[in-house]
Subunit: 341 residues, 2 copies
């Protein structure tokens, strides 16, 4: 895994970790190079006839299609809407591209589509265009969905890692790893034995808009922690901002069933996917108030401050462990949870 | 195939024919219902902060990935840009979502991405956001690509099947079936034996903009003939406009190698995919001039008028055959050319 490029694509290239980043930097970015893609955020913000248009795309290949707390359809809608929301955009429209393996039951497809419809209504977006392709048995895996989201960024909203300053605080909107644990449990057939393993799949726009309205200018940057989990987002943000982050493990909530399952499977919950958790970097003087505000929302009841931004080596994320030691968080080298979203 | 719903998805549901339409009307449209999706065009035109935004999405699952005259990457870029162009939109941005099967050679991926880059440059669009997922061996087929396109519709441009009037003429920008024949030939291993089988994959924006500039108001509606070929587009347009079309088989150019291969494989070239051919419905008084104009462009040298719009049963497309008879064109019931795009 380390060292030489094997010359072909590994499952780990889709992990959201180090190899995914390498592929982007070495292959996609040089070919497609433009200033928007170079932002390398969850979304691109581009000018269109006077509007600041926000655009994001995601393909979903989660296995299985249905899992505790959600399904591929809900995941696709919220995943894409959340990428827009955390960039400060107002989500407006979605497209949906379906790649179906021959033999998928029409009833399963109907359930997924119904779930997308409900999620879109809850998130306040319309699904305005779609496409359906079918591949032969053995050439796909039930159903893959691409959702692309389009929204607009209101005047005055400026977010991004370049705005992160030493002294800023790191805020997370709730416990981490729920989605990853729920999918892995279902995949391993353990979800009937471990109670309380439920994906956190949910829309983030409400929390985001509340923060932006209450603390304009003091919110520096937001991300949703998906593939790669909280740790990956922290390393990416620290790298993109050129700052060092200091994190306190004791402050990071991981629900008991999630922690238990991760121990059984040998997974680090800090790298397990969330699908309804926001990481925000906020100015120190509003940090406590921001947490209090988020806690007034059902999806933000366990919001927490987990660390600070420091002067220091760019991209370094040091975590003080519960045991009292210090651990450096890195991008995953290999693949921990394939096809988690 | 006829009659009862088998309860699961068939390859033919992705053919672009009758079953694809059934799936859209019976499953997707009721769940996602909104006025934009109901337009059921190649693209949706939606308002966004005062701009008429055009959005379209397509997933590409063509097999093989490389074929005479193109590859999946070029196809994805031009296919999506063309959907925008024929709707009268100015294409501006693309997103690209990659679903890679583990084991794809990095070199093949690099070739496809390079091809996308060149196509995007030629079409004048930027690829601004992307996503990469990897599935295990046997759960995909090399590479699937979703491209979603965003553009804007200039003031005054109003196109659509509702504007089609009896007496209008049907125009096609060149010979049909080239893409379908090229892919099928490569798949059957015949492409080294039949010379001149080359996909017509090309951007249409130049031809479209020329027509719109020269004949504002007289261009009623345009479509690009892709999956399902010329015949499918004609039936869809006749149905959407509530008019009857009269078509002359002798006027429809099919290149000799394409005709020959289709005969060998038992394929009707009128249902074979094109990827760089435009069907336009134009007012009768500009029809001849429109053809002359298109013929001044390299990609329009063999533009032709193939028929007229008549009062008559809505959706009826009657073709006068070369043999002197009459044949009614219908949507394909089954699957003729799986995974052609």
């Amino acid at each position: 895994m380390h060292g030489r490029d094997p010359g072909y694509i590994l499952v780990a290239h889709g992990s959201g970790g180090k190899l995914t980043g390498d592929l982007f930097r070495d292959l996609f970015l040089p070919a497609f190079r433009n200033p928007y893609l170079e932002q390398a955020g969850d979304q691109a913000v581009v000018p269109l006839d006077g509007v600041r248009l926000a655009v994001t795309t995601d393909s979903f290949v989660v296995s299985p299609l249905f899992f505790p707390g959600g399904d591929i359809g809900r995941l696709a809608v919220y995943g894409t809407v959340n990428d827009l929301a955390v960039g400060g955009a107002v989500p407006a429209y979605l497209t949906a591209g379906f790649i179906i393996e021959e033999g998928l039951s029409t009833e399963d497809l109907r359930r997924v589509v119904q779930s997308m419809s409900e999620a879109a209504a809850r998130a306040g977006v319309s699904i305005i265009a779609g496409d359906t392709k079918v591949v032969e048995r053995g050439k796909g895996d039930g159903l893959f969905i691409n959702t692309t989201g389009v929204g607009w960024v209101p005047p005055g909203v400026e977010l991004g890692p370049a705005r992160i300053r030493p002294g800023d605080r790191l805020l997370v909107s709730g416990p981490v790893g729920d989605h990853g644990a729920a999918v892995m449990a279902r995949r391993a057939g353990l979800d009937f034995e471990v109670e309380g393993l439920v994906s956190d799949t949910a829309p983030l726009a409400g929390l985001v808009q509340a923060l932006l309205a209450a603390f304009p200018g003091a919110v520096r940057c937001m991300r949703d922690a998906t593939r790669g989990g909280l740790a990956t987002v922290l390393v990416e943000l620290a790298t993109a901002s050129g700052k060092a982050f200091r994190v306190d493990e004791a402050a990071i909530a991981v629900r008991e069933p999630v922690r238990g399952l991760c121990e059984v499977l040998g997974i680090d919950p800090l790298y397990a996917a969330c699908e309804g958790r926001m990481v925000a970097v906020v100015a120190a003087d509003v940090a406590e108030a921001a947490v209090e505000l988020l806690r007034t929302y059902p999806d933000g009841q366990q919001a927490m401050l987990i660390g600070t931004v420091a002067e220091g080596p760019p991209g370094e994320v040091l975590m003080r462990t519960v045991a009292g030691g210090s651990r450096r968080l890195e991008l995953l080298e290999g693949e921990q949870l394939p096809r988690i979203c």
